[in-house]
Each structure stands twice: as structure tokens, then as C-alpha cells.
Symmetry: C4
Subunit: 370 residues, 4 copies
């Protein structure tokens, strides 16, 4: 089933949003839409410029409706209409496109209806770089995190009951019921401490002091768990990303699988946009680079040399000469593998054949550049 090209430019534009990141237009729409939604609620600003505010809001809404429609159509022709419509992405698109119109149709005050524009922000979520990593940490550590949450809730409830009992006669309004006291307890246990409601009896204050210290403890546990999970996840993530690239670099191809695992632990992946300066002449440097993907340009005196996939550069800095001798810039989007001095030494020690290759190439280049 082929798809008729009604609006080729638009198709192309929307097709670009099918990947993980949003189009620039979508970012602009989300940002300006949310800002206008904020201004709408500020009476003097809205009175002064209500035409502009309304115009931008409607433009943004139309953009999102249109985006959703095109995506639905795209998914329909790709025979996965429901797959898209019920995915997280599809639901976010649907809510962004329909929430405000539905509220308006149901007769809500426009100022209230447009508040639903805050859902537009969720369209940004898939574009956040480290989100997947964050989610994995939360999932893997969910056991201990839940325990801390339960402890948190228990301290909260017990403290509320006790302080309600101690303070209800002294302050019948603020501490007259347990739910009212919970408001005080949550502000205290999270160490927010509004101070709008505060115990005044000596015993109530003693319990409050204990609650605050528990707050510190809960905080510490929470952070400790997340730090642990993060450390493990970062290691894992970096290995995965690097492994894939290492196997594409011919330089490492001669190594056995165990040596490749070893090398992978030493390298770090770096994704760079086009026209980024990687090495600046005259700066101190302590790492060398392998090109896993893309191309760089070395700005030697008198000529420019281009290095492609599988090549390496910056090795001089690791072989005694700490000052970079030429600018190196990417010519297009590139993925580099970075080898720090620390790990270069280890690599040299464990895989002397690699060391020789690098050394020979360095000498050849030095000779050539003279």
C-alpha cells in the first residue's frame, strides 16, 4: 500500500519528527505556547496584548493538531495506526492536540481552558537525552526506593497523630484534625518548613525536632540509593555505546574478544556535531581519539588533511608532546572514541602491538610534516 504524496514538503517536514527528537518548529511551538499561556493569566499583560497572545496560542494549537493528524495518517499508511495512537508518544500528541479544544467545547472559561496547554510540555520528553537511563535506575532500584517511601509515610502518619494529640488544644485550627496536621508534617519531613503552622508546646516541638532529623535521614537514604543505581547504570550504558563503535574501528579488529572487552572499558564515546573543534592548537592535551563514524580535518601548516572512519589522531599528546600541534575540526556529525592518558598507558602495557602501531604511525606523520 503506497502513500499518495499530497503535501510533499509537509510530509517531509513531519517525517523528520518521527525519530527520537522533535523538529525545531515543535520546540518553538512548545516554548512560545507555554509562555503565552503564562501571559494569558497575567491580567495587565493580557489586556495590553490580548490579540498577540490569542494569535500565538491558536497558532500553536493548530500546529499540534496538524502534527498529530499527519502522524496519524503516516501511521495509517504504515499499517500501525493503533500502535502509534496508543503509544506514549501518540497519547501525548493526542492530549496536546485535543485537551484545549475539548475544554472550550465543554464550555470552560477560555482562561481556564488554555491552562491545559501545559500538557504541550510533555512533547519534549522523548527528546531528553538521559531520560532512558534515569528510568532504568528508578526501575532497578524500585525495591529500596519503595521501602524508603513507606518509611517516609509511616513517620509522616505517626508524627501527625502524635502532634495532633499534643497540639490540638493549644492550636485547634492548625492541628485540630489529623489531616490538617499532615500538612504541617509533610512540610517538616521534607525539610521545606513553610512556617505557616508551627507547634508551640514543648512536647510538640520535641516531636517536630525528631521529624526534621528523620527528614535528613530519608533524604540521605533516597540519595544513597539513587547514587548507587546511577553508578551501575552509567558504567553499563557507556560500555554498550562504546562496544558497538569499537567493533567498527579496523584498528581494534585484530584483537580477540576478551581484549576488545578490555579496550571497550577504556574508551569513552563522544558524539559531536559538524564543524566542532576537537583539538585546539597550543592547548595542553591528555587524550587521543579514534574516529568511529564521520570525518575530521587536521589544520596542518600549509595544508589541510582529512581523516575518515577508523583513523586516529591526537596521539602526540600521549607520546611526550603535551602541547597540541594543530587544530582538528569535525567536517560532519561524527562519533569519536576517546582514550585518556591513564588508559593509554594501560593499553600500551597490555597490548604492546597496538602501541607499536600507534608509535609507527606517529613517526610517519612527524616525518611527513617536516
Amino acid at each position: 500500500m503506497s502513500k499518495p504524496l499530497v503535501f510533499p514538503a509537509l510530509e517531509q517536514f513531519v517525517a523528520a519528527t518521527a525519530g527520537r527528537n522533535m523538529t525545531k518548529a515543535a520546540y518553538v511551538a512548545v516554548t512560545s505556547g507555554v509562555i503565552m499561556m503564562l501571559l494569558l493569566t497575567v491580567d495587565p499583560a493580557y489586556e495590553a496584548a490580548h490579540r498577540w497572545v490569542d494569535a500565538v496560542l491558536w497558532a500553536c494549537l493548530n500546529f499540534f493538531v496538524f502534527e498529530w493528524a499527519v502522524r496519524l495518517r503516516h501511521a495509517y499508511y504504515a499499517e500501525r495506526l493503533w500502535g502509534y495512537a496508543l503509544s506514549g508518544r501518540g497519547l501525548v500528541d493526542a492530549v496536546a492536540a485535543t485537551a484545549v479544544p475539548i475544554a472550550l467545547v465543554l464550555g470552560a472559561n477560555p482562561k481556564t481552558a488554555w491552562l491545559l496547554g501545559v500538557f504541550w510540555m510533555f512533547k519534549v520528553v522523548p527528546g531528553i537525552p538521559g531520560l532512558r537511563q534515569l528510568r532504568r535506575v528508578l526501575v532497578l532500584e524500585s525495591g529500596p526506593l519503595l521501602s524508603v517511601l513507606v518509611i517516609f509515610l509511616m513517620v509522616l502518619f505517626v508524627a501527625s497523630v502524635v502532634v495532633h494529640y499534643l497540639e490540638r488544644d493549644a492550636q485547634p485550627v492548625a492541628f485540630g484534625s489529623v489531616p490538617a496536621t499532615l500538612w504541617w508534617a509533610v512540610a517538616t519531613l521534607t525539610t521545606t518548613g513553610y512556617g505557616d503552622v508551627v507547634p508551640i508546646t514543648p512536647l510538640g516541638r520535641l516531636v517536630a525536632a525528631f521529624v526534621m532529623i528523620c527528614g535528613l535521614g530519608v533524604f540521605g537514604l533516597w540519595t544513597g540509593i539513587l547514587a548507587t543505581g546511577f553508578a551501575a547504570e552509567t558504567r553499563r550504558d557507556n560500555f554498550l555505546k562504546t562496544w558497538e563503535s569499537v567493533s567498527k574501528v579496523p584498528f581494534f579488529a585484530a584483537l580477540g574478544p576478551s581484549a576488545i572487552a578490555d579496550v571497550t572499558h577504556m574508551l569513552r564515546t563522544m558524539d559531536l556535531p559538524a564543524r566542532t573543534m576537537i583539538i585546539k592548537k597550543g592547548k595542553a592535551g591528555d587524550s587521543m581519539y579514534f574516529i568511529a563514524d564521520g570525518e575530521v580535518e587536521v589544520d596542518l601548516p600549509g595544508k589541510k588533511v582529512r581523516l575518515g572512519e577508523g583513523a586516529f589522531f591526537g596521539e602526540m599528546a600521549l607520546l611526550g608532546n603535551n602541547m597540541r600541534s594543530a587544530n582538528v575540526t569535525t567536517t560532519r556529525v561524527s562519533r569519536l572514541l576517546v582514550l585518556d592518558l591513564v588508559d593509554f598507558r594501560l593499553l600500551m602495557a597490555r597490548h604492546p602491538d597496538l602501541a607499536e602501531t600507534i608509535d609507527a604511525e606517529a613517526k610517519r606523520r612527524a616525518l611527513e610534516n617536516k
Copy 2:
């Protein structure tokens, strides 16, 4: 000494609570009991529905009394009455069953007596998954944690004395005695900062600023210690759980003990309820699974294959094909061992024989499915 089966259904019901987790009925009783206890203290709510509130509270209390009675009887016939009655569990059950009635008998105001229902919450404690781990961390790191607590107390007392001295003339009510000043100090050192009492002299504020910065330091130390302890404990816990399962998988049986320890470090245990989808067709995947316990169903085109203990699946994702080719679902409660891509590579490098087995099986399956 055998036990007469008076209420077989009830026996059975309560026997189910003898394990680590509570019955669902108990969760319902705790939740609804605590909510009703909250409502009891809210005068308008209680006036509107006092019959319902009272009824639920009495029902919950009766449930806990009954649960305790049956457990005592059970323990008596198992000849460990005191062992149960004096254990943490037994005491929690006893307090939950008797606290409110005793308060009522002693003539307390019913609204006050029912507040003791907050103790019902503690019945949830044994069911919290990561609690044992939390406790081990607190015990192992108790030395440094205590040090930080003592430092905390010292800063608290010294700051209180100094600020009392500096502020007592300016604010005789709030800072007129050291105990009164302690209230300010604890709210400040925990960075809660109610703001109900605040130093106003320049020197008092200087000391207060120092106390706040100390608060940050105490926080940092606290968290640092807990993070360290948690990292060690998580590693240990995971190893223990996995070790047990690894030794049951025939696939790893041929390995020597040192290789098993090695493999154990690479695997992660995952407990799943029945009818849980582990692999979703068409999703990207980067881990394979060994079945330590239970059974899964692979939903191949045209037929359904069941895999039991000792089998593995999901290996395709690690052998070049990143897209999952079939849904896999558990048929009953199962324990799986997860091997991530990272560790799969290491395993391949260190134990090439395992790699060959997996490879051969993968080829056989691919052939069969064609």
C-alpha cells in the same frame, strides 16, 4: 500434639498470613482503618458519616484482634507461643489488637483512643521488600552515622548557647533560654527553616549563617555514608540471590566453582508474576534470559512453544538481531536470570564453550522456525 480444625477456612486464611507478606484482607483493613481514623478527627466529616466511620473502625479492630488470636493459637499448637508473642511481629500484632480497647477501658475519650489505630500501620512493615537491606546498611555503617549524629548534636548545642547569649536581650521570648533556642537551632541546622523565630542581631545572624552551612555539611556526610553502604549492600544482596539460582541452571553446571562465581557477578535475578510479558515483539532488546524457576511461553508465528527450568531465550538480540522476533510471557510465577549485552560479551570472551552452546541453540531454533 495435633491441632483440631475448628474453622478450616479461617485457619487456611490466617495460615496464609504466617509468611512474610500480609494477606490482601489485612492490607485493606490497615488502609481503611487508618483512613477512618483520619476522618474521625475531622469534625464535619465525622458528623456527616459517624455511623460509617465507627462501623469501619470497629470492623478493622475486630479483624486485628481475631488475626492475633488465631496466630497465638497457631503458635501455641506449634509449641512456640512465646517465640511468636515476643517477636517483633507478635508485639506489633498485640499492640494493634489491644491498644485501642485498653485506652477505651481506661476511660480515654473515644476520639483520642482511636488515634492509637495509627499503630496498625506497623503491620505493613514485614511486607516492605527492601527493608532488610536498609537495616543491614544502617547497622554496618552505624559507626560513621553515629559520629555524624554526635557532630550534629554538638553544633546544635553550641549554636544554641551562643545564639541564646547574643539574642536573649533583643528577643527575650524566643531566645530567653537555651531550650527555647534549641527549637530555633534544630529548625535551622536541618535546613527546615520555619522562620517563626529568627535572630535579628548582626552577630546572631552570622552564627545562624554558619549553622546553616554546617547543616549542608551534615547532610552531605550523612548521605555520603549511606550511599557507600548501599553500594556495598546491593552488590552483596544481588550476588546471594543470583548464586542460588545459577547453581540450579544445568547450562552453567559444567562450569567450575570459580567460573560460577564469575558468571554470578554478571547475572541479575528477576522475579516475575504469572502472565507477565517479558519480551515484546518488535521492541529493541539487549539482554537474554535464563529460566531458574517457572515457565515461559514463546508466541512464535503459528505455534506456541513453552520453555521450562534451565532453558534460555532472547539470545537473538545479543547475536546481531536487535529487534525481538516474538512475544515471550510467563505462564506462572517465575524467576529469571538476566544477562545484559555488556556481560554477554564478557562471558563470550572468558567462557567460549558457553558461547558455542548458545550459538548452536540459536542456529537450531532459527532453522526450526523457518
Copy 3:
């Protein structure tokens, strides 16, 4: 130069305080002294019981003066008078003994003079278990910690100047000068947030929001640094303590130095007072113990067996039987080396000879106990 025994009982009493920990009497004196100092400042309490408060305070002071005098005398006869007097300990003792009397002699109001009794608390410092470890972490990580402190101060000053500029016309009292604004800034940057002074202009609030977020960042850096330092220090500390003990256990004597380093990493040192139950019959267990120092009593059915230095126990739990079969209690202060199940498996794999020894002994014991 020998020392005349004027007060042998007192000498003995004070000599006991020469070690790292305080005597129990000193703990009592510090605690009761500080509590009385607190009560002294509470007018109603002091009026009701001024005789008692004064009596306890003078008694505590006399105790500290006497302690200091005896220690000075002791140091004099040991020919290290100045070594003691100028050490941290000696200075703390001197301040505790002389601060209050000097203040009284100089004509200070007694209520003010006794406030100096807060210095008594510092006598507790050398007895805190993990303090040395804390100090090492702070010293080793002082570089990054100082950097964070400088960043903190910079944000503080720049924010104060900017907010002073923005708010001075709107709130001339609270933000009229930079030092006054610093008070607001420190309460905000530490996320204490008293709320006694708060910016009200839109721009002032924008800067304040930025300061709060910086506060989170400073917090995070601080904690991250401390957590890192703590992890390294804990590893080091544990290794040192354990190494010493391992070399004293004959069981490990046959191992070469590299294997001992290996084993040391697996063991954990545990210091226990006399009459502490280590293993409770019927509980699940997952670790075995080596006695580095001291003695334990195994409460077997019908007889009690004592095990001394170099012996091990609890190995059954690691050899298949998870339920502890006897109570084990220390008979005197003992140092045990704990081997967790995790590490037991690794040890078995790497040092099969040790495994055999443990296995043989376990069988011998099982036979004997039948």
C-alpha cells in the same frame, strides 16, 4: 622517677581515662552538667530547683577540675607535661576545667558564666568511633570541598549584590545594604528559607529562584564529593583492621602473602563486648566467623563448648544447613572475622585447600555432636 601513690583508688580511676574512651563517670558528668546548664536558663525551672541545679553544676565543675589536675600530675611524672597540656585533649580538659571559674572571677553574671559549660561537651569527642575516618575523608577531599565552598561564597555575594540593587527601593529595611541582603542570601542558598525577608519585585524573585536552584547544585556537589571520599576510606579502613587480625589466625597462616591480601578483602572485622549473642538458634544465617581475639561459648544440647583464638564457627550455615543449630555467645571482649556466604563461595573456588579444612572440621563436629 617513680610516682608516689597518694590516692591509689583515684589514680586507678583516672588512669582508666588515659585511653581513647572516657570513663562512665565522665559521661555522666558531661550529660548532667549540660542538662543543668540548660535548666539554669529556664527561669521557672531554676526558681523551683535552684539549689539542685547549682549543686550539680558545681559538682560537675569540680569533677572536671579534679580530672584535669590528676591528668596533669600523671603527665608530669611521665615526663610529658607539655605534650599533654598542649595536645587537643589537654586543651579541651583545660577549657572544661577553667572556662567557668575564669568567667566568674572576671565578674560575669553567673547565668552567663555557666553557659561556658557547653565546652564540656567537647570532652566526648575522642570517644566518637568513626571520627578519625570522617577527618581523613575531609582532609583527602579538601581540594574539591574548598572549590565548592568558594563557588558557594561567590554565588552568595553576587546574588546579594544583585538582589540588593533590585530590591533596595521596594524594601529599604531588609535589602537596604549588601550585608543585610547577605542574610537573605545565605538562608536561601542553603535552602533553609526562613521567609522573614523575601524579595517582592519580579526580577528579584527571578534571581532568588536561580539562587535556590544553585543551592540544590551546591548541595549535590558537596554530597557527591563526600560520598566518593567515604567509599574509598571505608574500603581502606576495613582492610587495615582486618589485615592485622587475619595474620593472627593460624587457619590462614599457610596462605602466601598474595592469598592473604585476597582473603583480607573478603573478611569483615567485628568487635563485640562480652556476653553478646552472635548466633541465635533457629535463625537463618549466611555467614561464618573466625575468632581473631577473645573466646566464644557454643551452647550445644547437653554441654557447652568454648572456642578460643584461631577457631571458627557457624560454617554449617554455609554448607547447606541454613538454620543455626546452637546459640553462640562471647565470654569476653572478642574480635571476630566475618565471612559472608558470597565470599565463602569465592574463597572455596580460589583456595580449595581452605575449603577442605573447613569441610573436614564441620564433619568432625557433626559426628561428635551426634
Copy 4:
């Protein structure tokens, strides 16, 4: 192009500032300048001493102008005028020298113009020891940190919209528009909690409680990420610094490259100023030292021995004698490599030849000192 020596003493003075650290004079100027700037805004203080305040401020300003001028001149003769002028350092110098005069020339109130003196503080930045390390952590972990920031902003905006909707009727001033509500939200989500604006409706408070708990979570994630990054960076930094030094110590020269990498992991670099006591006689010690650079003096009974580059000392403490037997002091700025007892044992086990060398030298010294 040689440079005429117009003010040799001044040249010399300013040349000293070309390195990474500031001259002492510059520290004095920054500190006194900023303090005077603070005093300028305190009306009573300024009235009492306005001559002094003005004089110091002008002196500081002149100092910075002069410093900048000399540095520009220096850079001009070194043919890198723009390199310096546009570097971070150069821009900070330029702002410090010109901000206040420009403001005064533009007709700003002097009290306002001098506030720009707060920029002088930035001159301290290059002298902060761990700043480079901090920056690397922030760069390497920028992905997850940004994710957390985006989550933070989303919670902030959604909470503001919801609470604005819930509270706008009850509190039209504080919650009447979304931007006004953002002020409350940021103070709550960072757990600062001023309490100047607080929700009062039950639903508003429920959302607020949720925001506070999210605040804890954001905090925890933030810290966890930074802790992870810091641990990796510290390891890397230490290795780099130590590697350089190890290769200069002849004692380690005989080792192969893999063994040097091994040894480097065990050593820690320590930079000491002249006349610093490293070892104090009679103290307990658990580390030995290698001199990578500089010289130390060992204060033996009757004679003083000097040890230069490549020598080691303190080994007695690791060979059974825990009490240090002589004072050791640096005679000039020195870089030492510290080997802790832990690692000494490992070194002995893995490189027995090094152990023998140390042992032989220790015996020779013991013999000699008798």
C-alpha cells in the same frame, strides 16, 4: 622583539601573577575591596568612615587597572595580545578594571557603581584548586544532569498551573496568575519553603505535598549523578598525577609498564610546601613515602640526614614498628608518593623484588643508626 625593562620590580611582581595562582597582593586587594564595597552600602558605617572606604576602593580599583595594563603590555611583547585579552582570564581582568569606571562615567550613582566591584571576586577563580575537576564532572555528566533539570522544570510548570487553578479564587493576589504561582512552586520544589505564600485549600495542599516529595526526588537524582561522576573523575585525576611522578622514581624504573600501571593505582601524590613536618616522632604511622621531587631532612639522634629525589622513608612503620622513630621535614617544595599499609602489603605480594629492596635498605639503615 625584546621588552624594555621600565619598572623591573613591578614587572617582576606582575610576572609572578602570570601563573595559575594570584599574587598575595591581589588576594588582599580583592578581599579588602569587596569588604569596603559591602560597607559602602551600610549607611551608618559609611558615614562614620567614608574617607577610608573611598580610599580603599579607589586603591583597589587602581591596583586592578594597573595589573590589567601590565598584563596587556606583557602579552603585547609576547605577541599574544588578543590571545590574552579574549581569554577567560583576560576578560575577568578587563571587567574588574573597567566596570566601575564605566558606570561612573555613564553617570551612575557612586553607591550603585561600586557594587560592580563584586566582579573583582572572579579574579580568584583560576586559583581554586579543584575547579578543573568540578568542571569536567559537570561536562561528563551533563546528559543526565540536563534530564533532571528538564524534569525539574516540568514539575515546576505543571504544579504551578494546577495550584494556580486550585487556589486562584481563595488567594487571588498570591496565586492569581501562573507566573506568580511559579514563585511559590520554585520555593517549594527546592524545599526552601519561605512560607510567604502557602496554599490553603485542601486540594492545593495535596498538590503542594506532592511537589515537596518530588523536590526530595530531584535532589536525590542530582546528587546521585554528581557522586557517580565525581568518583570516576577522582580516580582518573589521581592516576594521571601519580603516573607522571612514578616514572621519575628510579626505584620503580625496573618494573615493566604493566607493573607500573599497577603500582600507580596504589600510590597517592602529595604536594608539600617547604618546612612541613611529614612524620612526627612517636606518632603511630601506617604509610611510607617516596620522594618524586624535592628533598626531606630526617632528624636522627645526633645527626640530620637529607634524602633527595628517588629516595624513600617511613618504611619502618610498615615493617612491624608502628611508632615513628624520627621527625621528617621537607626542606623545599616537594612532591611525595604515599604508599599506605594496605597497598604496601599488596605490593609486597605482587612484586617481591621491590619488597626485598625496601627490606634490605631498612636493615642497612637500622644498622647504620645503631
